[in-house]
Amino acid sequence: MSGHYRRSVVPPSGPQRSYYSQYQYSNNRKDYQHRSRNFSSANEYSGNPSEAWNSAAAYRANHDQNAIVATDHRFQYSYGEDHLDESYREIRYQLENRDRNKLAIRARSEPIVQKRPAPVIRYDSELFKSKYHYFDPFKKVLIHKEEMFSWRDDPKIPVNGFVLVQEFHGGQARSIMRERNPKESAQDPRERAIATKSFRKYRDKLDLLPFIAYDKYSVGPPPPNEVVIYFASDVNTIQDISVKNYFKKYGEISHFEPFYDPNNALPLHVYLIRYASSHSGKSNEFKAARLAVKEHEKKGCFILGVKFNVILNKDDSLEKVISELVEKNIQKANRVQREIQRKTEENLKLSLTSSNLNNATQQADDQRIPADIEKLVNNRPALFVPNSFISHHAMKVEDFKFKLRKYRWARMVDHIQGIFIVFNDLENARVCLAAESERMTIVSRTKKRPVEITLILIVPTKNDRYNKAGSLTDLSSQLKEKSYDTEADLLEAATNFILQDLKYALHLDIRKRVIGPAVFDTLNPSSFPELLVKKESKEREKREAALKLTEEAKKKQKTVNDFDIFNLYGGYGSAAKVKRGPRKRAPVSRDISLLGSVKKLKVAKPMAHMLNEDSAPKEKEFSDDSKSISEHSDAEMSSTSATSSDNEEEYEEISREGGVGTKSTTPEPILEQKPILSDEKSVEMMSVPEIYRPTASKIPEPVFSDDTLAKDLSLIGFQDTIKDHEDLKLLRKTLGVNPHIDNTLIDPLLNYEVWKLRTRYNSKARVQESQMRLNEVAFDHQLQSTHGSVKADGFCKIPDRLKACYLPHRRKIHQPLNTVSHHIEPADGTPDSQREDSECLENSESVLQEISSSRDNRASNRRFQQDIEAQKAAIGTESELLSLNQLNKRKKPVTFARSAIHNWGLYALEPINSKEMIIEYVGERIRQPVAEMREERYLKNGIGSSYLFRVDENTVIDATKKGGIARFINHCCNPNCTAKIIKVGGNKRIVIYALRDIAMNEELTYDYKFEREEDDAERLPCLCGAPNCKSYLN
């Protein structure tokens, strides 16, 4: 049983506690907590229990007065046998002192909680004695005193107890037990907690706690979850939906309601938004409403430039707002009504007094056209709106132009003084004035409401007229009719007008009706027959010259063709050339006939057309030829167009030819074997079996070759060496065996043994044969388990050369390997060499249906490119996006599969002619330093295979992460491809070309041409297995 007792002082009961949790008491609670913790942790005092209790009780009482309860339960102390010592008293003193201080503070402010009476033990009965766990407050003795023992059983522990102190020794923290000095004031061991002072102020009044969310436990009415939005300013319209959308950001809206004026059904622009709590509990409806209001409390809410007020919908604020607005609207309506009434009355008055217009003109008397626009207005009547009015309402000329669009004003002049609406005709101006002045309304931009416009008429004065000189239509005659004194004058004037116009008309006629058509007509080429003839002859000459030129060019091309790259490399047969000849001449002759008949046909066609004409048939021929060539070279391959009958015929012919060829090459034995012997001898000879017949050689040759030279001749082998009776006789003679030995003397088991041996030998031979058939390599005995079970051997590394014994893709390194599997292929286990012939003949058609040939590829590419070109033309811009990789066009169909050389390899899906482009090595174009970095990183990450291809000293193409399948091409010391760096559009590209004709399904290889590595450990072994293999890559 432990000597340490712990007691916790029970905190005060419920109601008060909840009160304090709601409202913080203005006390430095934190400070107190520190002290109490000090007390419990550092001062484990041992002393008189009764006093301890008392002090504890006093302590509690004191602090209950201050209603500090938070840390009471932490109040821990232990009793010892010793009496309360000095330190405890000291603590008590301190506490009391502090309380006194607090009382002093409280004296200054209002006492908040009534002082409690000192605690009295009331339940002095037996019943409650059981509650006294270890201390009897009446007897004031410890109850279990006999059972208690000193806590200090280890004499090393100091009497006064100890504290564990952290000490630093050489940078390491170590806890050291140190004797406790009771006189030493205690310290909070937590370093940081003590140092900080509380910054909370003493409060002299109750303070609001942080907001407590309303939930199902809350009592009282829920906080508002609705907001009311209403116009802060008048006019302007806004769509309801935009208001709703604006407030969506605060939370999920469950209800949105716009309100309308009940009197006129016009929108009040008052909206009610009710928020909803989302199901996920992420957003709270009350919070959303509060937030929506809070955000707009100060600045107001602007939605699409319209200011709104946002308030929470509590205390009937919605109704208030609505009623207010309705009231306002009613007042406004009344006002408008009155205004209208007033105006109609005025109008009536005005119509009665006909001097309305006169008034206006009188008004305008003092308003004149300003000097600077006099010329513009040109003495025409104008309506005037003063600038003071316009600027006040921020109106523009355009407003007037729009409003007065149905009147025949000549122009509007925006002047400093105001807007002048100039009319050509005074009548029009008068009509406009009468109709619009003080009736027309334009929306004022400042007041945001329509205002009436008062127009002032400015009538031009007679004497200051300005005439436009030289104008045909005389404006001066507008207002007043020109009067002529006599009829003769009038006639004179009219004649002048007529003569003037007549002159103009005559000149116009001569020009347009006479000279123009005459020129045009004479320019007709048919009116110059001799010129035409001349020209035609000239053209003919030209044409002929052009023809000659083209023909020459063609001839040249032909001669060039003799040395062209295709022929040089022997890719196309000479038959192609023969065929090409007549075909080429044909279009030329056609051209001539065409040119003779068609007049405007251009002979010297654009280069592009000429080229097209020429190359199109040629290409066709080429492809035809290549087709036939592929058939020749690869008889088991049928071309893509195997359906065409003549191709098939051709094929048959070839095979027949092949058959004849093989017959002729084998020597004919009939001639040689014809004996030139006499009849008797020949009869004698014929009686001898064929193999024993004598041959015509100087020295007699043995009939059977000597097969006894094998080192370990097995029993079977030994048996096999004895071919005939002669052999047997010789053997018997050698061994001295009597042929007439009784069979019974022989061991009866011998026969069995021999039989057993033979069967074992046969089975072994069969296994070996099947192994050879499967893998074409004898099974290596190193692979055989030494213990009889491979499983028992454990793991061991198998050298690459041995893997060929059992891994199918390691076989036949230099033969075309059919690891590329198509779905049509039968999934039998027949080896490739056997299957190839049969399968390729039977299935090639169906296989080829799936794999597009490079020819199809090119065709579709061409089509695609045309599409893209059209697109480009439509877009009209040179876009990087649409630029095509030209190299893709000539790409051969290839695929990757497991390789005999290393991991993966690239395989041709169709036969590839030598010198043809196969594929581009595509990858990320990076700089040298980047490549070095990447190489290191790849090695670190365990990417053993290197797919970095150097283009030049600065550029490397990295196909490791982003790249085409060309990266799978393996190295071979006797490669069938080569990598060339070519420039396409200024960019260096790596392109793989065929070095020789490549059969279908053959693995593509090229020489990596790695630099020679000096360090032997660094050298990479080559697995290509070529006869001339250098055995290292580098």
Partner: protein
């Protein structure tokens, strides 16, 4: 707004509207000239123009085979330059400007016009 304009111009307008103006024009243009062997003005001008154009073409046959429209427009502008200078260059053509001005100042023509105007005026007054 024509009612507001000069009476004289109104009269002239009426004159035109009744077809006198066009008739006058035709009359002047189709007048046969004694010095041109009885050919009308239009015919003279036409033959002159075609002769000039022919010469031009003979000088430069390219004119014939270029765009006919634009070429003829260019030639036309050449002919109109400096008061039909080109038409009179070879001496035998008519001076269009001169002819027009003389024919307009012809007293007979003036009389004719005035007479027409008078009848128009009279008919107006009757109305």
């Amino acid at each position: 707004m024509s009612h507001n304009r000069d009476k004289a111009s109104d009269l002239a307008e009426q004159f035109k509207r009744e077809g006198h103006f066009d008739r006058l024009k035709e009359q002047i243009l189709s007048r046969s000239l004694a010095e041109q062997n009885g050919e009308t003005v239009v015919q003279t001008i036409r033959s002159e123009v075609s002769a000039i154009v022919r010469n031009m073409v003979l000088e430069d046959d390219n004119l014939l085979f270029k765009n006919r429209g634009s070429t003829s427009a260019l030639i036309e502008s050449q002919l109109l330059k400096d008061g039909y200078q080109k038409l009179t260059e070879n001496g035998k053509g008519i001076k269009v400007d001169e002819y027009v001005s003389t024919s307009l100042s012809d007293p007979e023509l003036l009389e004719q016009v005035k007479g027409n105007l008078m009848t128009i005026l009279q008919s107006n007054e009757k109305e």
